[in-house]
């Protein structure tokens, strides 16, 4: 008994140390990023990145505040796109996954195959672009940020289907049917509440994908008012990189007099870009693990 207890403690200690190392590895870049964003610009270049800033300055945040109109707008755009996109995506994903999980649905394998097919193959960039812009006319509209690539994901559908199949027993559905519940009612009153963990999991995946996406902005958006924070940040960094290097585009233009955001400001923008994700994550972490384990491994 005592021996067992000892080995248990030893096991826990080893686990704890390993996890601690991983935690530090994950946290360190964030700390470094934050520290860089509050370091005085010249000190940052002179002394490099440090965990404790050699000279603290909030000038970079003041710069962001001065640009609050553009940055604020992009930030708001990101929040709206992510919120609406995630909500819509989760609803339609679960509504598609539910019939696929029902054993009495004759075509479920055919549909599952079609969904699986989209995970393997797609029409390629040019074809998709033509379809979206010429037939759906989403270029330079809000829809361009919402729909292409992100709204539905085969992986998520199959994950939700697996969850329904493995964790919601058929007998519950039968009981409901005996009690006179309609299909819609079964879905709304029984399926949805019982599948919270997996829905939260895919919400997180989809939400992250929406929040971090800048490719739709790259292809479909020219109006700067529709830029999300990551599109804005990506363009700003690429532009500055171009201006900083000796490029033929800028020969003849005098760039020395420009007040361009330097390293620190870019770190500060990155900081505010990851902030919402960091704030939301702790609250859904528990459900997330459950959803991934049940939805992913079984079935």
């Amino acid at each position: 008994m005592k021996h067992n207890h000892n080995s248990e403690t030893r096991f826990r200690t080893v686990c704890l140390i390993i996890l601690l190392i991983f935690t530090v590895l994950c946290l360190a870049p964030f700390v470094l990023m934050f520290s860089a964003s509050i370091t005085e610009e010249d000190a940052l270049i002179k002394d490099g990145y440090r965990f404790f800033p050699s000279q603290i300055s909030f000038a970079t945040y003041a710069f962001l505040w001065a640009k609050r109109e553009t940055i604020g707008r992009s930030y708001l755009m990101s929040i709206i796109v992510t919120g609406l996109g995630t909500l819509t995506s989760v609803i339609i994903t679960s509504m598609l996954a539910y019939p696929l999980a029902r054993r009495d649905f004759k075509w479920r394998n055919a549909f599952a195959f079609i969904i699986f097919f989209t995970m393997m193959f797609n029409g390629g960039m040019t074809a998709s672009y033509i379809i979206w812009t010429r037939y759906f006319h989403i270029k330079d509209t809000f829809w361009a940020l919402l729909i292409p690539n992100l709204l539905m994901n085969g992986m998520n559908v199959l994950m939700v289907r697996n969850y329904y199949q493995s964790s919601i027993p058929d007998s519950i559905l039968e009981a409901a049917r005996v009690d006179g519940a309609s299909e819609m009612m079964i879905y709304r009153r029984i399926i949805l509440p019982l599948s919270t963990p997996v829905l939260i999991t895919i919400s997180l995946f989809t939400g992250m994908a929406y929040w971090n996406d800048w490719t739709n902005g790259l292809y479909y958006i020219t109006n700067q008012k529709l830029f999300t924070i990551n599109v804005y940040l990506n363009n700003l960094m690429k532009n500055i990189q171009l201006l900083a290097s000796q490029s033929s585009l800028t020969e003849g233009a005098n760039l020395a007099g420009l007040d361009l955001p330097a390293v620190g400001a870019r770190m500060a923008i990155a900081m505010i870009a990851v902030l919402p994700v960091m704030l939301i994550f702790p609250f859904i972490q528990g459900q997330l693990i459950k959803g991934v384990v049940i939805g992913g491994v079984k079935g």
Binding site: T70, S245, A253, N254, L255
Partner: protein
């Protein structure tokens, strides 16, 4: 028997119905497409009609850092169109500014899907745009609409807009000739006891840098310049040593390490030349003597920032501006010229998209970008009063500034940073803090006296060897930064680099480039 006939007929009928269905759907799609295009054209026509004019010329141009919003563009567009009407043009212009980072992708995609792009700059490469049919040949307009541009730029300059002898684009006209300056902190340089005329070329810097290092052991004597597209940081040895008074090297582009030297047109593997070897040895020597910053090959800080932060005493940087202006860009510095480039290559050219419906009007407007002061300044600086105010005149060039309390980020419209990308820089106004009127004259003079590379106008088309080409740049990128920053010993690593690029297919690419170049030469 009857049954069989009937069933065949029925089957045939159903097939016909299906076909009918099919064609009606197609017809419907066509209709929708037609409808949509009508919607677009009506929109355009309505716009044109409202100003009482004919066709609409679309102008898609890249902007950097700040992209004006549609609300910002509208008044500028109106003012520009009023102006065009006043000078008797029978078309209006639709301005379409696109963020520079998205520009190449969005214009390419748009042309492929038959959207209206109009006048644009094929940033992904002229030969590439021509081989994928994205550009309209301009030969028909050279004698008429584009005549003023031809006269302005001259035949030699226009070569960079030609592919297979056909003109597809007009080169941007600006101060392409760069001086490479050694920019050094005043106090530090004065303390060394050297004088300005001790500096003749990049090699002459070594003893001065050593002295600086000896007197200021705490800071680096020189900061590296950032490389573009993963080519690795460097000390600008390649452009400075490649100037017409030195090795006279023309880089054939696409980051392949293909060059021609002197007045020869023989394509060489740069990594095997004495030129590249000397460039690496110089850096290695500096590195071994401890003259440079520790993370030279990987730093992402610009040399100017590094110097201003007090981490390095000097840096080398290329500018079209005069030495006095460059010295004034940063506090308390001298700028000594160490080399002057020749017209070696130019990829900044403006053409008309192949799907353009009104090429003649577009060509006419393209020409105005080079010849009409009003037009180009509307596009670069917007409208007077709202976007800028006139402060005076110098050397015959109007000087302007942003309105009181405003800057680049806050005015409704500006494309200030596109001044080196489009049209004719020499007729643009000079904005406060930007290129000064004196510098504009200085650049113009340098352009008029420019030395041209023997292969100016030739552009490599890597399409036939694209696999080898990307393998070569990948292989080379692993070494170039380290070699050009002096962190790798040239004795060991240049041979490795040569082996790597040869394994990646350097010989194939050289053969293709040589064939293309010979064909190009015959055409001239």
């Amino acid at each position: 028997m009857n049954k069989k006939v009937i069933s065949t007929l029925l089957a045939a009928a159903s097939v016909i119905t299906l076909i009918g269905c099919g064609s009606s759907t197609t017809a419907k799609t066509d209709e929708t497409a037609a409808e949509n295009s009508t919607v677009q054209t009506t929109e355009a026509a309505a716009k044109a009609a409202s100003s009482g004019e004919g066709s609409v010329v679309t102008f898609s141009y890249p902007t950097l850092v700040v992209t004006p919003t549609p609300e910002g563009v509208a008044p500028v567009e109106d003012a520009l169109n009023d102006y065009l009407k006043s000078i008797g043009k029978n078309y209006t212009v639709d301005l379409n500014p696109i963020d520079g980072n998205n520009y190449p992708t969005q214009t390419d995609m748009a042309i492929m899907s038959n959207e209206n792009v109009g006048i644009y700059c094929p940033l992904a490469g002229l030969s590439n745009a021509v081989s994928s049919n994205k550009l309209l040949p301009l030969d028909d307009y050279l004698g008429a609409e584009l005549k003023p541009v031809v006269d302005l730029e001259g035949d030699q300059m226009l070569r960079s807009g030609k592919v297979d002898g056909i003109t597809y684009a007009m080169p941007c006209y600006k101060g392409y000739i760069l001086y490479y300056y050694w920019v050094v902190d005043k106090d530090i340089f004065d303390a060394t006891g050297f004088a300005g005329n001790d500096i003749t070329d990049i090699r002459s810097l070594t003893p001065i840098l050593e002295k600086i290092h000896e007197q200021n052991p705490d800071i680096a004597a020189i900061a590296p310049t950032l490389g573009l597209n993963g080519t690795g940081n460097n000390y600008c040895q390649l452009p400075t040593m490649g100037d017409p008074d030195d090795y006279k090297v023309t880089d054939l582009g696409s980051f392949l390490g293909l060059i021609v030297e002197g007045d020869s047109t023989k394509v060489e593997n740069m990594y095997e030349t004495q030129y590249f070897k000397e460039a690496c040895e110089l850096a290695y020597d500096w590195n071994q003597k401890g003259l440079t910053i520790k993370d030279a090959s990987v730093t992402t800080d610009t040399p100017t920032d590094t110097q201003q932060a007090g981490r390095a005493a000097s840096n080398i940087i290329g500018y079209g501006n005069s030495a006095e202006s460059v010295a004034a860009f940063t506090d308390n510095t001298y700028a000594f010229p160490i080399s002057k480039t020749m017209m070696a290559s130019n990829s900044l050219v403006w053409g008309i998209a192949s799907n353009c419906s009104n090429p003649r009007e577009s060509a006419d407007f393209l020409s105005l970008l080079y010849t009409d002061e009003q037009v180009i300044n509307y596009i670069i600086y917007g409208t007077e009063g709202d976007d800028y105010v006139v402060t005076g005149e110098e050397n015959g060039i109007k000087t302007i500034a942003y309105p009181e309390g405003q800057d680049m980020n806050s005015v409704p419209y500006t494309a200030q940073l596109s001044c080196g990308i489009l049209g004719n820089q020499f007729i643009m106004y000079a904005i406060e803090g930007g290129t000064s009127p004196a510098d504009i004259s200085f650049m113009k003079e340098n352009m008029d006296k420019a030395v041209y590379s023997p292969v100016f106008g030739y552009q490599i088309d890597v399409t036939p060897v694209s696999t080898q080409a990307s393998a070569i740049s990948n292989a080379a990128n692993q070494y170039t930064g380290g070699l050009l920053c002096g962190e790798l010993d040239p004795k060991t690593y240049i041979p490795q680099l040569i082996d790597a690029v040869n394994a990646a297919g350097m010989q194939d690419v050289i053969a293709v480039a040589q064939d293309q170049l010979d064909a190009w030469k015959t055409e001239q």
